[in-house]
Amino acid sequence: MFFKPDRGLFPPALQKALGILPVPPLGFALTRAVRRLARTRPDLFDRLDTYKRTHFIIDPVDIAHVFRLIPNGEHATVELFKRKDAPEGAARISGPLIVLLGLVDGTYDGDAVFFTRDLVIEGDTDAVLALRNTMEEADLSPAEFLGFNGRPREVVDGATNKTLGHLRRLLDAPTATS
Protein backbone atom coordinates (compact mmCIF):
# COMPACT_ATOMS: atom_id res chain seq x y z
CA MET A 1 0.00 0.00 0.00
CA PHE A 2 1.50 3.35 -1.04
CA PHE A 3 -0.71 5.44 1.25
CA LYS A 4 -2.38 4.99 4.62
CA PRO A 5 -6.16 4.81 4.20
CA ASP A 6 -8.04 7.10 6.57
CA ARG A 7 -11.85 6.85 7.01
CA GLY A 8 -12.58 7.21 3.29
CA LEU A 9 -10.38 10.22 2.53
CA PHE A 10 -8.85 10.27 -0.95
CA PRO A 11 -5.04 10.00 -0.97
CA PRO A 12 -3.27 13.37 -1.45
CA ALA A 13 -2.24 12.64 -5.07
CA LEU A 14 -5.84 11.95 -6.06
CA GLN A 15 -7.02 15.04 -4.18
CA LYS A 16 -4.63 17.12 -6.31
CA ALA A 17 -5.70 15.42 -9.52
CA LEU A 18 -9.37 16.11 -8.81
CA GLY A 19 -8.49 19.79 -8.44
CA ILE A 20 -8.37 20.10 -12.22
CA LEU A 21 -12.03 19.06 -12.63
CA PRO A 22 -13.81 21.14 -15.31
CA VAL A 23 -15.92 23.14 -12.88
CA PRO A 24 -18.58 24.89 -15.05
CA PRO A 25 -19.61 21.80 -17.11
CA LEU A 26 -19.90 19.67 -13.97
CA GLY A 27 -22.07 22.29 -12.23
CA PHE A 28 -24.23 22.55 -15.35
CA ALA A 29 -24.68 18.77 -15.55
CA LEU A 30 -25.58 18.49 -11.86
CA THR A 31 -28.04 21.39 -12.11
CA ARG A 32 -29.75 19.69 -15.04
CA ALA A 33 -29.89 16.41 -13.12
CA VAL A 34 -31.55 18.02 -10.07
CA ARG A 35 -34.07 19.94 -12.25
CA ARG A 36 -34.91 16.74 -14.14
CA LEU A 37 -35.57 15.06 -10.81
CA ALA A 38 -37.86 17.95 -9.79
CA ARG A 39 -39.89 17.46 -12.97
CA THR A 40 -40.23 13.71 -12.57
CA ARG A 41 -40.76 13.63 -8.79
CA PRO A 42 -42.23 16.96 -7.64
CA ASP A 43 -43.55 15.39 -4.39
CA LEU A 44 -39.97 14.93 -3.31
CA PHE A 45 -39.31 18.65 -3.29
CA ASP A 46 -42.53 19.35 -1.35
CA ARG A 47 -40.84 17.50 1.48
CA LEU A 48 -38.25 20.30 1.66
CA ASP A 49 -41.02 22.80 2.33
CA THR A 50 -39.48 26.22 3.11
CA TYR A 51 -35.95 24.86 2.90
CA LYS A 52 -36.17 24.67 -0.91
CA ARG A 53 -34.50 28.06 -1.08
CA THR A 54 -31.79 27.30 1.47
CA HIS A 55 -28.19 27.65 0.27
CA PHE A 56 -26.53 24.36 1.21
CA ILE A 57 -22.76 24.14 1.04
CA ILE A 58 -21.68 20.57 0.40
CA ASP A 59 -18.02 20.26 1.24
CA PRO A 60 -16.16 17.11 0.20
CA VAL A 61 -13.12 17.76 2.36
CA ASP A 62 -10.80 15.67 0.21
CA ILE A 63 -11.24 17.52 -3.07
CA ALA A 64 -10.43 21.09 -4.01
CA HIS A 65 -14.01 22.19 -4.68
CA VAL A 66 -17.19 22.73 -2.71
CA PHE A 67 -20.74 22.62 -4.06
CA ARG A 68 -23.51 25.11 -3.44
CA LEU A 69 -26.92 23.49 -3.80
CA ILE A 70 -30.17 25.47 -3.89
CA PRO A 71 -32.78 22.69 -4.26
CA ASN A 72 -35.57 24.96 -5.47
CA GLY A 73 -37.45 22.39 -7.60
CA GLU A 74 -37.28 23.14 -11.32
CA HIS A 75 -35.25 26.26 -10.52
CA ALA A 76 -32.64 24.32 -8.56
CA THR A 77 -28.95 25.10 -9.06
CA VAL A 78 -25.73 23.29 -8.26
CA GLU A 79 -22.54 25.34 -8.52
CA LEU A 80 -18.95 24.41 -7.86
CA PHE A 81 -16.44 26.75 -6.26
CA LYS A 82 -12.78 26.51 -5.44
CA ARG A 83 -12.69 26.06 -1.66
CA LYS A 84 -10.99 29.45 -1.17
CA ASP A 85 -13.82 31.13 -3.14
CA ALA A 86 -16.63 29.23 -1.43
CA PRO A 87 -19.63 31.37 -0.42
CA GLU A 88 -21.23 31.28 2.99
CA GLY A 89 -24.32 29.10 3.04
CA ALA A 90 -27.13 28.71 5.54
CA ALA A 91 -25.98 25.15 6.21
CA ARG A 92 -22.77 23.26 5.56
CA ILE A 93 -22.30 19.48 5.27
CA SER A 94 -18.69 18.28 5.23
CA GLY A 95 -17.07 14.88 4.90
CA PRO A 96 -14.99 12.71 2.60
CA LEU A 97 -16.48 12.54 -0.91
CA ILE A 98 -17.00 8.80 -0.64
CA VAL A 99 -19.10 9.32 2.51
CA LEU A 100 -21.18 12.11 0.93
CA LEU A 101 -21.87 9.94 -2.12
CA GLY A 102 -22.87 7.12 0.22
CA LEU A 103 -25.47 9.38 1.81
CA VAL A 104 -26.99 10.10 -1.60
CA ASP A 105 -27.33 6.47 -2.63
CA GLY A 106 -28.35 5.21 0.83
CA THR A 107 -25.14 3.32 1.57
CA TYR A 108 -24.78 5.28 4.81
CA ASP A 109 -27.24 6.31 7.48
CA GLY A 110 -26.76 10.04 8.13
CA ASP A 111 -27.10 9.71 11.89
CA ALA A 112 -24.62 6.83 12.08
CA VAL A 113 -21.85 8.67 10.18
CA PHE A 114 -22.59 11.82 12.14
CA PHE A 115 -22.24 10.04 15.49
CA THR A 116 -18.91 8.57 14.36
CA ARG A 117 -17.90 12.10 13.25
CA ASP A 118 -17.23 11.10 9.66
CA LEU A 119 -19.75 13.81 8.77
CA VAL A 120 -19.77 17.39 10.10
CA ILE A 121 -22.88 19.58 10.12
CA GLU A 122 -22.80 23.35 10.62
CA GLY A 123 -25.45 26.07 10.41
CA ASP A 124 -29.19 25.53 10.03
CA THR A 125 -29.73 22.02 11.40
CA ASP A 126 -33.43 22.10 10.47
CA ALA A 127 -32.51 22.66 6.82
CA VAL A 128 -29.92 19.87 6.88
CA LEU A 129 -32.45 17.50 8.38
CA ALA A 130 -35.05 18.40 5.75
CA LEU A 131 -32.49 17.80 2.98
CA ARG A 132 -31.33 14.55 4.53
CA ASN A 133 -34.90 13.25 4.88
CA THR A 134 -35.66 14.26 1.30
CA MET A 135 -32.57 12.41 0.05
CA GLU A 136 -33.68 9.41 2.07
CA GLU A 137 -37.05 9.44 0.41
CA ALA A 138 -35.53 10.00 -3.02
CA ASP A 139 -33.88 6.58 -2.83
CA LEU A 140 -31.77 7.66 -5.78
CA SER A 141 -29.47 5.39 -7.67
CA PRO A 142 -26.53 7.07 -9.41
CA ALA A 143 -27.91 6.24 -12.86
CA GLU A 144 -31.40 7.48 -12.03
CA PHE A 145 -29.93 10.77 -10.86
CA LEU A 146 -28.05 11.12 -14.15
CA GLY A 147 -31.19 10.39 -16.17
CA PHE A 148 -30.52 6.84 -17.38
CA ASN A 149 -33.44 4.46 -17.87
CA GLY A 150 -34.01 0.78 -18.58
CA ARG A 151 -31.05 -1.47 -19.27
CA PRO A 152 -28.44 1.34 -19.32
CA ARG A 153 -29.58 2.30 -15.80
CA GLU A 154 -28.94 -1.23 -14.56
CA VAL A 155 -25.51 -1.33 -16.21
CA VAL A 156 -24.43 2.08 -14.89
CA ASP A 157 -25.73 1.35 -11.37
CA GLY A 158 -24.06 -2.05 -11.31
CA ALA A 159 -20.71 -0.61 -12.39
CA THR A 160 -20.95 2.42 -10.08
CA ASN A 161 -21.93 0.40 -7.02
CA LYS A 162 -19.10 -2.05 -7.65
CA THR A 163 -16.57 0.76 -8.09
CA LEU A 164 -17.74 2.67 -5.00
CA GLY A 165 -17.77 -0.50 -2.90
CA HIS A 166 -14.20 -1.22 -3.98
CA LEU A 167 -13.17 2.38 -3.24
CA ARG A 168 -14.74 2.25 0.22
CA ARG A 169 -12.70 -0.83 1.08
CA LEU A 170 -9.51 0.62 -0.42
CA LEU A 171 -9.91 3.91 1.45
CA ASP A 172 -10.95 2.27 4.71
CA ALA A 173 -14.21 4.23 4.61
CA PRO A 174 -16.78 3.77 7.41
CA THR A 175 -18.68 0.50 7.28
CA ALA A 176 -21.69 0.71 4.98
CA THR A 177 -25.05 0.66 6.74
CA SER A 178 -26.85 -1.13 3.91
Binding site: D43, D46, R47, L48, D49, Y51, G106, T107, Y108, D109, G110, D111, A112, F114, F115, T116, R117, V120, I121, E122, D124, T125, D126, A127, V128, L129, A130, L131, R132, N133, T134, E136, E137, A138, D139, T175, A176, T177, S178
Partner: protein
Protein backbone atom coordinates in the same frame (compact mmCIF):
# COMPACT_ATOMS: atom_id res chain seq x y z
CA UNK B 1 -51.17 -11.33 13.41
CA UNK B 2 -52.08 -7.91 14.87
CA UNK B 3 -53.67 -8.63 18.20
CA UNK B 4 -53.77 -12.38 17.56
CA UNK B 5 -51.09 -13.41 20.01
CA UNK B 6 -52.24 -16.15 22.39
CA UNK B 7 -51.03 -19.38 23.94
CA UNK B 8 -51.13 -21.10 20.57
CA UNK B 9 -49.40 -18.22 18.85
CA UNK B 10 -46.81 -16.82 21.25
CA UNK B 11 -44.72 -15.06 18.57
CA UNK B 12 -43.70 -11.54 19.38
CA UNK B 13 -45.04 -8.96 16.95
CA UNK B 14 -42.23 -6.78 15.59
CA UNK B 15 -43.31 -3.13 15.33
CA UNK B 16 -40.96 -1.02 13.20
CA UNK B 17 -40.61 2.68 12.47
CA UNK B 18 -40.98 4.54 9.17
CA UNK B 19 -40.35 8.26 8.81
CA UNK B 20 -40.67 8.25 5.02
CA UNK B 21 -42.36 6.09 2.38
CA UNK B 22 -38.91 4.76 1.44
CA UNK B 23 -38.35 3.66 5.05
CA UNK B 24 -41.79 2.05 5.14
CA UNK B 25 -40.90 0.05 2.04
CA UNK B 26 -37.57 -0.94 3.61
CA UNK B 27 -39.30 -2.07 6.82
CA UNK B 28 -41.93 -4.07 4.94
CA UNK B 29 -39.32 -5.75 2.75
CA UNK B 30 -37.16 -6.52 5.81
CA UNK B 31 -40.00 -8.42 7.45
CA UNK B 32 -41.71 -6.01 9.85
CA UNK B 33 -44.95 -7.45 11.21
CA UNK B 34 -46.22 -3.91 11.81
CA UNK B 35 -44.96 -0.48 10.77
CA UNK B 36 -45.74 2.75 12.58
CA UNK B 37 -45.62 6.19 11.01
CA UNK B 38 -47.17 9.64 11.26
CA UNK B 39 -48.61 12.43 9.17
CA UNK B 40 -46.47 15.41 8.18
CA UNK B 41 -47.74 17.84 10.82
CA UNK B 42 -47.82 18.46 14.54
CA UNK B 43 -50.20 15.58 15.27
CA UNK B 44 -47.37 13.15 15.86
CA UNK B 45 -44.44 13.14 18.25
CA UNK B 46 -41.77 13.09 15.53
CA UNK B 47 -42.65 16.31 13.77
CA UNK B 48 -39.25 16.97 12.19
CA UNK B 49 -38.45 18.78 8.92
CA UNK B 50 -38.71 16.58 5.84
CA UNK B 51 -40.09 13.67 7.82
CA UNK B 52 -43.43 11.83 7.79
CA UNK B 53 -46.22 11.22 5.32
CA UNK B 54 -48.67 13.30 3.31
CA UNK B 55 -52.18 11.79 3.23
CA UNK B 56 -51.52 10.58 -0.32
CA UNK B 57 -48.25 8.94 0.76
CA UNK B 58 -49.98 7.30 3.73
CA UNK B 59 -52.63 5.78 1.46
CA UNK B 60 -49.96 4.37 -0.86
CA UNK B 61 -47.86 3.22 2.11
CA UNK B 62 -50.74 1.25 3.61
CA UNK B 63 -51.36 -0.47 0.27
CA UNK B 64 -47.69 -1.36 -0.07
CA UNK B 65 -47.38 -2.62 3.52
CA UNK B 66 -50.49 -4.78 3.20
CA UNK B 67 -49.11 -6.26 0.00
CA UNK B 68 -46.09 -7.41 2.05
CA UNK B 69 -48.32 -8.71 4.85
CA UNK B 70 -47.35 -5.88 7.24
CA UNK B 71 -49.81 -3.88 9.33
CA UNK B 72 -49.69 -0.10 9.56
CA UNK B 73 -50.16 1.78 12.84
CA UNK B 74 -50.41 5.55 12.59
CA UNK B 75 -49.33 7.82 15.43
CA UNK B 76 -51.62 10.77 16.16
CA UNK B 77 -50.05 11.02 19.55
CA UNK B 78 -49.52 14.65 20.48
CA UNK B 79 -51.97 16.52 22.68
CA UNK B 80 -54.56 18.60 20.82
CA UNK B 81 -54.58 22.34 21.46
CA UNK B 82 -57.71 23.76 23.06
CA UNK B 83 -59.74 25.65 20.46
CA UNK B 84 -57.70 24.23 17.59
CA UNK B 85 -58.54 20.53 17.50
CA UNK B 86 -59.45 20.29 13.82
CA UNK B 87 -55.90 19.25 12.79
CA UNK B 88 -56.10 16.22 15.08
CA UNK B 89 -59.63 15.33 13.98
CA UNK B 90 -58.61 15.56 10.33
CA UNK B 91 -55.61 13.34 11.07
CA UNK B 92 -57.81 10.66 12.65
CA UNK B 93 -60.17 10.77 9.65
CA UNK B 94 -57.19 10.50 7.27
CA UNK B 95 -55.92 7.41 9.11
CA UNK B 96 -59.30 5.73 8.73
CA UNK B 97 -59.51 6.63 5.01
CA UNK B 98 -56.03 5.20 4.42
CA UNK B 99 -57.10 1.75 5.59
CA UNK B 100 -54.42 1.65 8.29
CA UNK B 101 -54.83 -1.06 10.91
CA UNK B 102 -54.72 1.05 14.07
CA UNK B 103 -54.18 4.50 15.44
CA UNK B 104 -51.70 5.27 18.22
CA UNK B 105 -53.00 8.11 20.39
CA UNK B 106 -52.41 9.60 23.83
CA UNK B 107 -54.77 12.55 24.26
CA UNK B 108 -58.20 11.71 25.67
CA UNK B 109 -59.75 14.20 23.21
CA UNK B 110 -58.20 12.37 20.25
CA UNK B 111 -59.14 8.97 21.68
CA UNK B 112 -62.70 10.13 22.30
CA UNK B 113 -63.07 11.51 18.77
CA UNK B 114 -61.70 8.28 17.28
CA UNK B 115 -64.03 6.12 19.37
CA UNK B 116 -67.14 8.22 18.67
CA UNK B 117 -66.60 8.83 14.94
CA UNK B 118 -64.87 5.60 13.99
CA UNK B 119 -66.00 2.86 16.40
CA UNK B 120 -64.36 0.11 14.32
CA UNK B 121 -60.93 1.73 14.44
CA UNK B 122 -58.42 -0.19 16.54
CA UNK B 123 -56.92 2.07 19.24
CA UNK B 124 -53.43 1.74 20.68
CA UNK B 125 -52.46 3.91 23.62
CA UNK B 126 -49.25 5.80 22.86
CA UNK B 127 -46.28 5.79 25.20
CA UNK B 128 -46.96 9.55 25.38
CA UNK B 129 -49.93 8.77 27.64
CA UNK B 130 -47.49 7.37 30.23
CA UNK B 131 -49.96 4.71 31.37
CA UNK B 132 -48.05 2.25 33.52
CA UNK B 133 -50.49 1.19 36.21
CA UNK B 134 -53.42 -1.24 36.03
CA UNK B 135 -55.74 1.59 37.11
CA UNK B 136 -54.77 4.03 34.35
CA UNK B 137 -54.69 1.32 31.68
CA UNK B 138 -58.14 0.07 32.74
CA UNK B 139 -59.45 3.62 32.47
CA UNK B 140 -58.33 3.89 28.84
CA UNK B 141 -59.61 0.40 28.08
CA UNK B 142 -63.04 0.92 29.64
CA UNK B 143 -63.53 4.49 28.43
CA UNK B 144 -62.21 4.31 24.89
CA UNK B 145 -61.88 0.60 24.11
CA UNK B 146 -58.10 0.78 23.82
CA UNK B 147 -56.76 -2.63 22.77
CA UNK B 148 -53.04 -2.13 23.24
CA UNK B 149 -50.81 -0.03 25.50
CA UNK B 150 -47.27 1.03 24.64
CA UNK B 151 -45.46 0.99 27.97
CA UNK B 152 -43.07 3.74 29.12
CA UNK B 153 -39.37 2.92 28.93
CA UNK B 154 -38.97 3.33 32.67
CA UNK B 155 -40.30 -0.08 33.70
CA UNK B 156 -38.29 -3.14 34.69
CA UNK B 157 -39.11 -6.60 33.33
CA UNK B 158 -40.41 -7.59 36.74
CA UNK B 159 -42.81 -4.66 36.73
CA UNK B 160 -44.01 -5.60 33.24
CA UNK B 161 -44.63 -9.19 34.36
CA UNK B 162 -46.70 -7.93 37.29
CA UNK B 163 -48.61 -5.42 35.18
CA UNK B 164 -49.46 -7.96 32.48
CA UNK B 165 -51.05 -10.18 35.12
CA UNK B 166 -53.35 -7.34 36.12
CA UNK B 167 -54.48 -6.01 32.74
CA UNK B 168 -56.30 -7.63 29.83
CA UNK B 169 -55.08 -5.35 27.04
CA UNK B 170 -52.07 -6.15 24.88
CA UNK B 171 -48.79 -4.55 25.87
CA UNK B 172 -46.04 -3.28 23.58
CA UNK B 173 -42.52 -2.36 24.72
CA UNK B 174 -39.52 -0.64 23.15
CA UNK B 175 -36.53 -2.91 22.56
CA UNK B 176 -34.13 -0.95 20.38
CA UNK B 177 -33.10 2.60 19.46
CA UNK B 178 -33.05 5.95 21.19
CA UNK B 179 -33.68 5.72 24.89
CA UNK B 180 -36.07 8.19 26.47
CA UNK B 181 -35.28 7.96 30.15
CA UNK B 182 -38.07 10.23 31.29
CA UNK B 183 -41.72 9.29 31.57
CA UNK B 184 -42.86 10.26 28.11
CA UNK B 185 -45.64 12.78 27.76
CA UNK B 186 -44.61 14.41 31.01
CA UNK B 187 -41.10 15.61 30.25
CA UNK B 188 -40.59 19.37 29.96
CA UNK B 189 -36.78 19.50 29.67
CA UNK B 190 -36.81 20.27 25.94
CA UNK B 191 -39.62 22.81 26.43
CA UNK B 192 -37.49 24.53 29.06
CA UNK B 193 -34.48 24.83 26.75
CA UNK B 194 -36.24 25.67 23.49
CA UNK B 195 -39.79 26.78 24.24
CA UNK B 196 -41.06 23.96 22.01
CA UNK B 197 -42.80 20.94 23.44
CA UNK B 198 -42.44 17.29 22.45
CA UNK B 199 -45.89 16.66 23.85
CA UNK B 200 -47.78 19.47 22.13
CA UNK B 201 -45.96 20.05 18.84
CA UNK B 202 -44.06 16.80 18.51
CA UNK B 203 -40.50 18.02 18.78
CA UNK B 204 -38.09 16.90 21.49
CA UNK B 205 -34.80 18.79 21.12
CA UNK B 206 -35.92 20.34 17.81
CA UNK B 207 -33.11 20.41 15.22
CA UNK B 208 -33.72 24.11 14.55
CA UNK B 209 -32.47 24.77 18.08
CA UNK B 210 -29.48 22.45 17.75
CA UNK B 211 -26.02 23.60 16.80
CA UNK B 212 -22.72 21.78 16.53
CA UNK B 213 -19.69 24.01 16.90
CA UNK B 214 -16.11 22.93 16.34
CA UNK B 215 -13.34 24.42 18.39
CA UNK B 216 -10.04 22.92 17.31
CA UNK B 217 -10.51 19.18 17.53
CA UNK B 218 -13.39 19.51 20.01
CA UNK B 219 -17.03 19.43 18.97
CA UNK B 220 -19.68 21.10 21.12
CA UNK B 221 -23.35 20.14 20.84
CA UNK B 222 -25.77 22.85 21.90
CA UNK B 223 -29.55 23.06 22.33
CA UNK B 224 -31.28 26.42 22.53
CA UNK B 225 -27.92 27.99 23.25
CA UNK B 226 -27.17 25.65 26.17
CA UNK B 227 -24.03 23.55 25.79
CA UNK B 228 -25.24 20.00 26.32
CA UNK B 229 -22.05 18.07 25.63
CA UNK B 230 -18.52 18.34 24.27
CA UNK B 231 -16.60 15.65 22.40
CA UNK B 232 -12.83 15.38 22.11
CA UNK B 233 -10.99 14.22 19.01
CA UNK B 234 -12.02 10.70 18.02
CA UNK B 235 -14.84 10.64 20.58
CA UNK B 236 -18.20 9.51 19.25
CA UNK B 237 -20.71 12.38 19.15
CA UNK B 238 -24.34 12.40 20.18
CA UNK B 239 -27.49 14.44 19.65
CA UNK B 240 -27.92 17.19 22.26
CA UNK B 241 -30.94 16.00 24.22
CA UNK B 242 -30.95 17.52 27.68
CA UNK B 243 -31.52 14.22 29.47
CA UNK B 244 -28.30 12.87 27.95
CA UNK B 245 -26.16 15.94 28.51
CA UNK B 246 -22.91 16.16 30.43
CA UNK B 247 -23.18 18.71 33.23
CA UNK B 248 -21.12 19.98 36.12
CA UNK B 249 -22.72 19.56 39.53
CA UNK B 250 -21.05 19.74 42.94
CA UNK B 251 -17.67 20.07 41.25
CA UNK B 252 -18.02 16.95 39.17
CA UNK B 253 -18.77 16.67 35.43
CA UNK B 254 -20.93 13.70 34.51
CA UNK B 255 -24.00 12.52 32.64
CA UNK B 256 -26.42 13.53 35.38
CA UNK B 257 -29.56 11.85 34.06
CA UNK B 258 -28.45 9.13 31.64
CA UNK B 259 -25.45 8.27 29.49
CA UNK B 260 -25.91 8.92 25.74
CA UNK B 261 -26.52 5.27 25.02
CA UNK B 262 -29.00 3.42 22.87
CA UNK B 263 -31.47 0.86 24.08
CA UNK B 264 -30.79 -2.71 22.98
CA UNK B 265 -32.98 -5.23 24.77
CA UNK B 266 -32.36 -8.04 22.26
CA UNK B 267 -31.02 -10.18 25.08
CA UNK B 268 -34.30 -9.72 26.96
CA UNK B 269 -36.65 -10.80 24.17
CA UNK B 270 -37.30 -14.25 25.69
CA UNK B 271 -38.04 -12.70 29.09
CA UNK B 272 -40.33 -10.09 27.56
CA UNK B 273 -42.16 -12.81 25.65
CA UNK B 274 -42.53 -14.82 28.84
CA UNK B 275 -43.74 -11.66 30.60
CA UNK B 276 -46.76 -11.68 28.31
CA UNK B 277 -45.72 -8.81 26.06
CA UNK B 278 -47.54 -8.89 22.70
CA UNK B 279 -45.32 -6.64 20.62
CA UNK B 280 -41.78 -5.31 20.65
CA UNK B 281 -41.07 -1.93 19.17
CA UNK B 282 -38.05 -0.42 17.47
CA UNK B 283 -37.57 3.32 17.95
CA UNK B 284 -36.33 5.51 15.11
CA UNK B 285 -38.78 7.18 12.75
CA UNK B 286 -36.08 9.78 12.22
CA UNK B 287 -33.55 7.18 11.05
CA UNK B 288 -32.75 6.33 7.43
CA UNK B 289 -33.94 3.39 5.37
CA UNK B 290 -30.55 1.66 5.51
CA UNK B 291 -30.71 1.67 9.31
CA UNK B 292 -34.34 0.56 9.33
CA UNK B 293 -33.65 -2.28 6.94
CA UNK B 294 -30.73 -3.64 8.94
CA UNK B 295 -32.35 -3.31 12.37
CA UNK B 296 -35.62 -4.85 11.22
CA UNK B 297 -33.84 -7.77 9.55
CA UNK B 298 -31.82 -8.40 12.72
CA UNK B 299 -34.83 -8.34 15.04
CA UNK B 300 -36.97 -10.37 12.66
CA UNK B 301 -34.19 -12.97 12.64
CA UNK B 302 -34.17 -12.89 16.44
CA UNK B 303 -37.95 -13.29 16.73
CA UNK B 304 -37.96 -16.09 14.15
CA UNK B 305 -35.07 -17.80 15.94
CA UNK B 306 -36.99 -17.67 19.20
CA UNK B 307 -40.02 -19.19 17.50
CA UNK B 308 -37.75 -21.98 16.30
CA UNK B 309 -36.47 -22.52 19.84
CA UNK B 310 -33.15 -20.71 19.37
CA UNK B 311 -31.65 -17.41 20.48
CA UNK B 312 -30.31 -14.88 18.00
CA UNK B 313 -29.06 -12.34 20.54
CA UNK B 314 -25.40 -12.49 19.54
CA UNK B 315 -26.25 -12.12 15.87
CA UNK B 316 -28.44 -9.10 16.60
CA UNK B 317 -25.75 -7.38 18.64
CA UNK B 318 -23.07 -7.98 16.02
CA UNK B 319 -25.28 -6.67 13.24
CA UNK B 320 -26.29 -3.54 15.05
CA UNK B 321 -23.28 -2.41 17.07
CA UNK B 322 -22.23 0.27 14.53
CA UNK B 323 -25.65 1.90 14.44
CA UNK B 324 -26.27 3.09 17.94
CA UNK B 325 -26.06 6.54 19.44
CA UNK B 326 -22.81 7.13 21.24
CA UNK B 327 -21.64 3.73 20.02
CA UNK B 328 -22.82 2.25 23.31
CA UNK B 329 -25.91 0.37 24.31
CA UNK B 330 -27.90 -0.51 27.40
CA UNK B 331 -30.83 -2.64 28.44
CA UNK B 332 -32.25 0.55 29.98
CA UNK B 333 -34.70 0.31 32.86
CA UNK B 334 -35.59 -3.30 32.10
CA UNK B 335 -32.73 -4.48 34.30
CA UNK B 336 -32.63 -1.55 36.72
CA UNK B 337 -32.73 -2.53 40.32
CA UNK B 338 -33.07 0.97 41.83
CA UNK B 339 -36.05 3.26 41.94
Amino acid sequence: MLGQRNDNNPSLELVCPAGTPAALKAAAEAGAHSIYCGLRNETNARNFPGLNFSEKELNAGVRLAHKHGSHVLVAVNTFARAGDTHIWKRAVDAVVRSGADAIIAADIAVLDYAKEKHPDLRLHLSVQAAAATPESISFYQETFGVQRVVLPRVMSVEEIVKLNKEVTVETEVFVFGGLCVMTEGRCALSSYATGKSPNLTGVCSPPGDVSYDEDGSNLYARLGGFTIDGFGEGETAGYPTLCKGRFKAEGETSYLFEDPVSLNAASLLPRLQKAGVTAVKIEGRQRGKAYISQVVKAFRAAVDAMDAGGNAEEEVSAMLSAMIEGGRETTGAYKKIWR
